[in-house]
Symmetry: C2
C-alpha cells in the first residue's frame, strides 16, 4: 500500500492533460492530498497549498506522487533529481510513468540510503491469464471514447458516486495509473503484454452475482492509431452490458497526432458496439458524457441537448451536471421492474 | 545470431498446431535443419531424421529449437529437463515461448557451466516507439485471418517467394517467433507491451522508396476474443495498401475457444478493411488464401473457385497451388502500366 497523505507533483508541466494523474487524485481523494509541488514556470494549479518537499513532510505528507503524464512515459533528468530531493526530505515516491523508478540507479540508491519506498504503479501483477471470452455473471459498464484523455476516468468515477448515492451497488475498476492510485487497485492496462490485454480485464472484473455493477474505466479509442489495440482488447475482456460514450467537444485533433481528426459520435458508438458484440451480443449504449469544462454553461446545455437528440441517448457532463439521466437509462434498460409503469401505458 | 544447423524439438506434442514453429523451420529453412527430437508418444513428424541430442551434435547440429507452442507459452519441467540435457550434449537453445529460458535457473546454470547460449526469440528490442500513424512511403501487404493459426505466415512466405520469382522486390516482415527464426529478424508482437503494438510494426516496416513490397506477417484475428487487440494494432501500424485474407476451412471453432464460431469471410474482410482504413484509406483486398491441406484436390479446387466467385477476389492455397493469381491481382491494382491493355478495350 502507498502511504498517504500525498504531495502531488506538477513540476514544469504546462499542459492540463499532462497533469491529469495529479489532478485526478486532488479531485477524487481530496482528503489524502496535503499540497502540490510546482516550479514558477508551471502556470497550473490543483488549488492545493504550494509546498517544497520539507514543507510537505512538516505538513504530514508521506509520499510524493509523480502525477504527470507524457507519451511514452519517460523519466527525465529533472524528474529524477526532484525525486531524489524528495527522498532525502523523507518522502516515498509513487509513479505511473512507463519508465520505472526501480530502473533509475540514483533513485534506488537514494531510497536505500534513506529507508524510503519506490512504488511503480504501472507494474502489472504477474499472474494475468490469456482472455477466454466465456460469458460471466454480473453487469458491467465500460466507458469508451472518441480519443484518449476525454474524461473516461472522470465519467466512470462520477457514475460510481452517483449510483451509490441512489442505493445501487457499483464498483469502479481502474485500468490506468491515476485510477489505480484513486481506487487502491486495478490493472495498468497499457503496461500489460499485448497477448494478455483482454485477460487482464477479465481478471479485474470477475463474475459477480450480487446484482451490482462493475464500472470499468476505458482507455484510448478505437480511432487512435497508436492505442486502438488496447481499446479493442478492453472491449472484448469487459464483455460490457452497457457502454458510456465519452467525448471532449473542444478536441481539434487526436491526442498527440495533429494529422488525425477525431471521429464522429455516431461513428464511434457504432464501432464500439460492433467490437463489443463479439463477447456480449446484448451490449447497448446508455449515454454520452461530454467534457464541457471549457464551454459556457449555456453552450454546454445546448450541446448536451443537441447530442442527446441526435443519438437518442441521455447526454450530460458527469462532473459538472451529474449523472442522473444516465443512471435513469441504466435502470430502464437493466431493471425490468422500473420499466413497468411505462410499459403499462 | 542463432548458430545453425538446428535440431527441431517436438517432445510429447501431438497437436499439429502445437509444433508449428518446428514445422515452419523444416519447411522454409530445410537446409538449416539436421533432425527432429521426439518421444515415442509423439505421433507427428517433420520428415527429418529422428535423433537424440548426442546424435544431433555428431550430425553437426549447433542449436536445439524449442519449436512448440501452447497458450500462455509456459516452460514445463519436462521441457527444462530436456533443454538441460541438450546443453550438456553441446547444443545452444533457442525458444519462442512466452516464459523465458533466462528465467529458468537450471538452464542458466547449465548454459554457464557448458559455455552454451540461450536465445529467447520473444524478447522484443528495447527501443520500440509509440505508433504515430503518419503516412509513409512504400507498399505494404498484410495477411489477416478469420482465426489464429490459419496459415498467415505460410501465405506471407509463399508470397515473398512467388513475387521474387517474378522479378518483384518483396521482403517478409516477421511478427512471430517462427517467422523471426526463419527471417533472422522481426518483432515478437505478442510479447510487446500493449501501448507499443502499432509502433512496433511501424518500426519493422519503415518507409521505402525502391518500389518494393513489405509483406507483413499477420497475427490473431479481429474475431478472436483473446487476441484481437494485437490484430488491431497490427492493422494500424502496418498501414497496409493490400490485405490478403487467410482462412482454414476445416476450423470448427476459434482456436482454444470451443464456445466461439469462426466468422464468415466477407464479414472478416469488411471488418479488417474498416479498421485498416484509419491509417490507410486506400487499402484494398487482393485475395484469399485457404489452407486446404486436409481436403481432397477436387474439393480444394471447388472451394477456391466458389470462394473466388463469392468475394470477387482470387483465391488459392498458396502452399499447395502457388500464389500467381494473387500476384496478378496485386500487379493489376498497384502497377498501373500492367492495366493499360485492359483499359484500352
Amino acid at each position: 500500500m502507498i502511504a498517504s497523505p500525498y504531495l502531488l507533483y506538477l513540476g514544469h508541466v504546462n499542459d492540463e492533460v499532462g497533469i491529469k494523474t495529479s489532478r485526478g487524485l486532488a479531485v477524487f481523494r481530496p482528503d489524502a492530498c496535503v499540497g502540490e509541488f510546482r516550479y514558477d514556470d508551471c502556470e497550473l494549479t490543483l488549488g492545493l497549498p504550494c509546498m517544497d518537499f520539507a514543507e510537505a513532510v512538516a505538513a504530514g505528507a508521506k509520499t510524493l506522487i509523480l502525477g504527470i503524464a507524457n507519451a511514452g512515459g519517460k523519466l527525465g533528468d529533472d524528474l529524477v533529481r526532484d525525486a531524489v530531493s524528495a527522498i532525502e526530505a523523507g518522502l516515498d515516491i509513487a509513479s505511473g510513468l512507463h519508465n520505472r523508478l526501480r530502473d533509475e540507479p540514483a533513485l534506488v540508491a537514494a531510497a536505500a540510503r534513506h529507508g524510503r519506498t519506490l512504488h511503480d504503479v504501472r507494474d502489472p501483477r504477474p499472474d494475468i491469464p490469456i482472455g477466454n471470452g466465456k460469458p460471466r455473471a454480473g453487469k458491467r459498464l465500460l466507458t469508451v471514447g472518441t480519443d484518449c484523455s476525454v474524461g473516461k476516468m472522470y465519467a466512470t468515477l462520477c457514475l460510481e458516486k452517483g449510483m451509490r448515492a441512489r442505493g445501487m451497488t457499483a464498483d469502479f475498476r481502474a485500468t490506468g495509473q491515476t485510477g489505480i492510485l484513486i481506487a487502491g487497485g486495478g490493472v495498468p492496462l497499457d503496461a500489460v503484454i499485448a497477448d494478455f490485454i483482454s485477460g487482464a480485464i477479465e481478471q479485474i472484473s470477475p463474475a459477480r452475482d450480487d446484482d451490482g455493477w462493475d464500472l470499468i474505466e476505458g482507455q484510448g479509442s478505437l480511432f487512435h492509431p497508436s492505442f486502438a489495440g488496447v481499446s479493442t482488447g478492453l472491449l472484448h475482456g469487459a464483455q460490457p452490458d452497457a457502454l458510456l460514450l465519452c467525448h471532449d467537444p473542444m478536441r481539434q485533433h487526436m491526442r498527440g497526432l495533429p494529422h488525425y481528426t477525431p471521429p464522429g459520435l455516431r461513428e464511434t458508438l457504432d464501432a464500439n458496439l460492433g467490437v463489443a458484440r463479439l463477447t456480449n451480443p446484448r451490449v447497448q449504449a446508455v449515454g454520452v458524457a461530454l467534457n464541457t469544462s471549457k464551454m459556457s454553461a449555456a453552450d454546454a446545455a445546448r450541446l448536451c441537448a443537441e447530442t442527446s437528440d441526435a443519438l437518442g441517448l441521455p447526454c450530460t457532463d458527469p462532473y459538472a451536471h451529474g449523472v442522473d439521466p444516465i443512471i435513469d437509462r441504466i435502470k430502464e434498460c437493466f431493471e425490468p421492474s422500473s420499466r413497468e409503469p411505462t410499459l403499462s401505458h
